[in-house]
Symmetry: C2
């Protein structure tokens, strides 16, 4: 069991951080200190590798995605292209285990610190979605290819 969930289950005092009301109300009653303000719309969510600090991707959460993330300890997002909840890694197996969660001063952005299964977050097979970098006047690839997407997603070439 990962540390994020272990702490949730082991520490009765901390359990209230994760307690939520029934699913019908969709109200997550985690500590107000780390509850996003969903009245502003979807919450942009930065995903950072907890071990290396590399920023892996950016996605969006609605309240259901936030609740599922806390419940399961694995990152869930709202897919704007498919208009549905997206359990990251459901197809590829490359789930993101939550190590920590941060919220910004305005409570309208989140930062997940994760352990990335498979070592790559990007559907292109690269470790980070942010693999194109402009630095010192030159554009370069700054994040290595970890897997072949054709293998992982079984796309016929």
């Amino acid at each position: 069991m990962d540390r994020f969930l272990a702490a949730k289950n082991a520490n009765p005092a901390a359990r209230s951080l994760y307690t939520h009301q029934d699913r019908a109300s969709k109200t997550v009653s985690v500590s107000a200190d780390i509850t996003p303000d969903f009245s502003k719309g979807l919450i942009p969510t930065i995903v950072q590798d907890d071990a290396t600090g590399e920023v892996l991707m950016l996605a969006f959460m609605n309240e259901e995605a936030f609740r599922k993330t806390l419940e399961t300890g694995e990152a869930h997002y709202w897919s704007r292209s498919r208009n549905e909840i997206w359990h990251k890694g459901e197809t590829s197996g490359h789930v993101q285990k939550i190590r920590a969660l941060r919220i910004d001063c305005d409570s309208d952005a989140l930062l997940l610190l994760v352990a990335q299964a498979g070592g790559a977050a990007c559907h292109t097979g690269r470790r980070s979605c942010f693999y194109r970098e402009l630095r010192d006047g030159e554009v370069r690839r700054c994040s290595p290819k970890i897997f072949d997407p054709k293998q992982i997603y079984r796309i016929s070439s």
Copy 2:
């Protein structure tokens, strides 16, 4: 002169990366490889300390903000609350010097790697806007207070 601008000015081959058309057309003709797709709306922009890897804040860019950022080497955003271009640090002096710029696989999110003047990005005086963290079942402050906002913004108490 910082390295980002130095490279722009010193290297004629690199200059084309920053060349843009006249302001009326508002078309930034930087390398297509690092040009955001503004047709999708505002571009969420992650800001990370280039030296430490700490994620400092999240803001949004429109095309004008992106162009001004490339022109000046300092971060400009679109303020959604004030509906205007926001030159970060204009009031506080805490500008963000761009060291590198990354773009994600879908070209709809940016990552700036910056040197943060004054050592703090957050208007609360903390180094990072993401100063509240849930880890191991406990909420804590994870980014130190660097300045007193009352001093910097001359807010009467």
